[in-house]
Symmetry: C3
Subunit: 361 residues, 3 copies
C-alpha cells in the first residue's frame, strides 16, 4: 500500500493553541497503535545520550508518541520533574538549544542551574573537564552539555556519575536535535513509523555532515528508517562532504546515495530537504555551503518539506516561512516536547504521567 | 481645593516591613476610590507594552492601585504566576532592570528563562531578531526585552506572537521605568489621580529626553497628568534636548515648557526633579549632562522630591539619600510591585488575587 | 582516652545513595550528643557571615550536626525555603562556588536570582557597590557575594539591609569554604567535637594563607579546635607565607607552628594536609606554590587525609582520587549540605525541619 505523503494530510490538521507554526500532534489521529510502551521507555532510565546511536528505533518511536501526547496536553500542573535539578553546562555559547532545554525542564517543574558561559569560569582557572564532572555529581540529577571539543563528553564521563545529554560536541553529534527532526518528520508523515505502509522518500542534504554535527546526527538517525528512504543526495561545496565514518554507515545501511555540488539539478526530485549552513569552528561560527539558497521561487516539489536546525542566515529565505514547505518551525517547536519526553524517561518520572497518556506496561 | 504637596503627608506614613526607604503604600489610605476595576485591568490581557502610549491614564491608575495592594500584602503564597514562563532577553546588559523583573516574576511563583547576555549568543551566529522572536514563541509565555537598537522591538514582533514588554530600546523608550516613576509620584502625592483636587507642579528635567529613553518615557507619561502640571523646565547641556517628536507631543498637550542650561536659576522653583546622566550609546555607556549635580546643599524647595532611574554616578550625591527629597529609593523599590501588577494583568492572572485586594468587575 | 583517627572508622561507613565519594554522615552514628540545639542555631537568624569569626565553635558544631542530618535525609519535599529569594552576585567569576550555593538553595525550594558576571553590568555604568547594595534590598531576602576586592563586603553593607554571605572577597576570606572543610574533617573524625576525647593532629598547610583566602579561613577556623591540634606546618614558596594578622592569631591561640619550604621532609608526619595553588589576582587566576605536588607515591602517613578547595591544577594528582587519602571529594560534596544548614538558619526556617531531625529548644 502506498499512501500520499504528509503535506496533504497535515493540512487537515487543526492548528493547536492559536499557534500557526506547529502541526497538531493529536496522538489519537497520528498513530495506529495508540498505546505507549512503558517497558521500552523505562530502558532509558539513567541513560546518557551522547549519540543518536544511544537511541534505538523502538525507543525513538515510543518517545515520539509520548512527545505528541505532551504537546497536545497541558501537563505542567502534574509537576513531573518536581525536585529534580538539571544542570545546563554550555561550554560553547548557544541561546536556542539552551533555552529549549530550560523551557522543557521548567514547564515540567524541574529546576535549572544554568552555566551559560562555561568557558569563562572554572576552565579559566585551568580546571580539567574530568574534575568538572566530579563536581556536578554533588549538585544536580542530570547534565545537559555543549562543548566546542568533540571528546569533551567522553572526558567528563570519567568523573561524572550522573546521566548526561549531549547538546552538541564539536564536530561530533547533536542527538536531541536529530530526535526533534524526526519527531517533526513523523508528525508530518506518521506512516514513517508504520511498518505496513511503504514509503520511498528522496532525501536531500544541503550541507556537509562531516563538519556539521546536526546534519550528521540527522543522517545517522535516518538510517533507522532506511526502508522508507529511496535515496539520499548530498549537495555540498566540498568534494567529500561525508567523511569516512558516515560513508561507511550509509553504505552498510544499503541506502542509495550520491554527492553533487549542483542543487538546481536535484531540487525537483526531493521530498525532504535538510539544510544547514552555520558551522562552529572552535570558539567562532562560520558559514559553509551558503551558496545553496532556497526561497519560495526555488523549483521545489509541490509536497516537499524543508528542515533546518536554525539559526539560519540567508540560505533559507523568509519567503518560505508561510508556505507548506516550512517544516522547520514545527521542528523547532516540537523540540521542547521531544526533550520533555526524553527527560521524563531518563529521570525516572514516567509514573507521574496523567491518565490521558495511554501508557501500558 | 488646593492641598499641600506630598512630602508632608508621606511623613505620616508608617514605614512597612522595616524598610526605611519605601513609602507605605497602604491602599486604603492612599485612594479615595478604594475599588480596583477588573474591567479596566483586563484590557491589558495579552497586550504588549512598547511605549508608555500603550497604557492609558485609566489603566495606569488601576495599575497603581493594584501595585499598592501588592506592596502592602504578602501575596507570594497565592502563586499568581504558577505555570507561567517569562523570558528575560537582554541584548543590552543590565543588572538593575533585569533583576527587578526577575524578582517580580519569581516572587509571584512564575518561572524565568534568563538571557543576560543576548548579544553573545544566537546573534553571534548572525541570526536575525525576527527569527529570535519566532523561537521564543515555543519557549515561554511573555518576553521582556532590552536592546541597543531602537527598532529591535518592532522587528522581533514580526516573528513573535507572545506579548513583549519593552525594558529599554536604544534611544526609544523604557515604559515600565516611567510607570514606576509615576507610581512613586502618586504614592508621594495621591491627589495626582484625584480629578477633584487641583495641583500645579513645577517639573524639572535634568537631562536630554531626545537621547535618554527613561527621561523620554517619564515625560510622555507626564502628559497624561497635564492638568496637574504648571510647567516643565528642561535643563540640559544640549541646545535642543527634546527633538521634534517630544517637542510636538508636549506642545500639543498645551503644557508650558522652557529649555535652559542654567540649573541653579531654576532649582528653587521646582517641585519634582527628574534627573539622569547615563546614556547607552551602542554597546557602551557614557555620561551626559553630568555638570548638573545635586547634593544636600543644593537650593531645593523644602518639599521638592528627586526622581532618578539609577544607576547614578556623582550627579546625585549620597548626602541626599537620607533627606525627604529622596524619592529615588522609593521609586526603585516600588518598581517591583508595579511590574508585578502589570505581569498579572498581561498574563491573565487577575483571578488569582486574594480577597483582600478590592477588585470589582 | 585516645582513639584511632578517622580513616579507619570512616571505612566502616556504608556509602549513601550510590555515591562513592561522600562519607556517610549518618547523624546517629556520628555524634554522641544526638540532639541539635535550636537555641544555638537561632542566633544565626538574619546574621551576615563575612568571616569565619562570625561563627562560634558552638554554632559550628550545631551546624555540622544539622548538615549531617540534611545529607542523610531527602528533605527537599519539605520546601524549607519556599518563598525565599536568594541573590547570587559574583563580581568575580566562579562556577564551583556559585553552583554549590545555587544547588543548595534550589533543592530546598528557594528561588535564585543569578548574577554570574556582576562585573559586566551595573558596574560597567560606574555604579557604586553601595548603590548595588541598596538595590538588592528590594529584590531578595539574602545576598551571596563574591568580589575581587577585599573591602567590597564592608562597602556593600553600607547600603544593604539584607544578610550577606561572603563567598570569597579578594585576599580576604571564604568562610563557607572553611565551614565545609571542617564539616568534612568532623565527619572523618567525629571526636574532633567531643571534648572528652583527646586528639593531637599534625596539620600541614601547602600554600600561602596570606594570599589565599580559602587557606586563611581554614586556618582561622582551625583555631577553634586548637586543643585537638598538635602542630601546624606551613609549607610555602614564600619566606613569610602568613602575614602579620594570621601569625598573631595563631600565636595567640598558643598553637605550635613552623614554616618550611621543604615538603618531602614534613609529609610523613602529617595527619591532615590542606593544599591549594590557585590564587585570584584581580581579574585573573594564577598558580602559587605549584612546586608542591602530591600523588599516590608521595610519602604520606597511612591515615593521612588531604583537603583541597578545588579547582586543582596538577599539584594534586588524580592518582590520589581513589585512595583513602582523598577527603577533597567528600569536602566538595558536603559543602552543599553545610550551606543548606546555614541558609535555613539565617533565613529563619528551622521551623520547617521534619521530625526526623532531632531539634531541641
Amino acid at each position: 500500500m502506498h499512501k500520499p505523503l504528509g503535506p496533504n494530510r497535515s493540512q487537515e490538521f487543526t492548528r493547536p493553541r492559536g499557534d500557526s507554526h506547529s502541526l497538531n500532534p493529536e496522538p489519537l489521529k497520528l498513530f495506529k497503535n495508540k498505546e505507549i510502551s512503558e517497558r521500552v521507555l523505562s530502558t532509558l532510565h539513567q541513560q546518557s545520550i551522547l549519540s543518536v546511536n544511544d537511541i534505538s528505533r523502538e525507543q525513538l518511536i515510543e518517545l515520539v508518541k509520548l512527545a505528541a501526547c505532551l504537546e497536545s496536553l497541558e501537563i505542567s500542573r502534574e509537576h513531573p520533574l518536581d525536585g529534580k535539578l538539571v544542570i545546563t553546562a554550555f561550554f560553547e555559547a548557544s541561546t536556542r538549544t539552551r533555552v529549549s532545554f530550560e523551557s522543557a525542564v521548567l514547564r515540567l517543574d524541574g529546576k535549572i542551574i544554568s552555566i551559560p558561559e562555561g568557558s569563562t569560569t572554572g576552565v579559566k582557572k585551568g580546571e580539567s573537564i574530568e574534575d568538572i564532572g566530579e563536581m556536578f555529581n554533588a549538585y544536580g540529577d542530570l547534565v545537559i552539555m555543549r562543548h566546542t571539543e568533540t571528546d569533551a563528553l567522553e572526558r567528563i564521563q570519567k568523573g561524572l556519575r550522573l546521566p548526561v545529554i549531549n547538546a552538541g560536541n564539536g564536530t561530533g553529534e547533536h542527538p536531541t536535535q536529530a530526535l526533534a527532526d524526526w519527531y517533526a518528520l513523523i508528525k508530518w508523515c506518521p506512516d514513517l513509523i508504520d511498518p505496513e505502509v511503504k514509503q520511498s522518500l528522496n532525501v536531500g542534504i544541503l550541507g556537509t555532515p562531516g563538519s556539521m554535527r546536526a546534519v550528521k546526527s540527522f543522517l545517522l538517525l535516518a538510517l533507522q528508517f532506511k526502508e522508507k528512504i529511496n535515496s539520499v543526495t548530498f549537495i555540498s561545496e566540498m568534494a567529500d562532504p561525508l567523511g569516512k565514518d558516515i560513508k561507511e554507515a550509509i553504505t552498510n545501511a544499503g541506502i542509495d546515495f550520491s554527492v553533487s555540488n549542483d542543487m538546481q539539478d536535484h531540487l525537483p526530485n526531493l521530498d525532504v530537504i535538510y539544510m544547514n549552513s552555520i558551522v562552529c569552528v572552535g570558539e567562532n561560527y562560520t558559514a559553509m555551503d551558503s551558496s545553496y539558497k532556497l526561497n519560495s521561487d526555488s523549483p521545489l516539489k509541490k509536497d516537499a518539506v524543508i528542515l533546518h536546525p536554525l539559526a539560519r542566515l540567508d540560505e533559507l529565505d523568509r519567503s518560505l516561512d508561510d508556505t507548506p514547505h516550512n517544516l522547520y518551525f514545527s521542528q523547532a517547536h516540537g523540540a521542547v516536547f521531544l526533550r520533555q519526553a526524553l527527560l521524563i524517561c531518563i529521570l525516572g518520572r514516567l509514573y507521574t504521567m496523567p491518565r490521558e497518556i495511554p501508557l501500558v506496561p
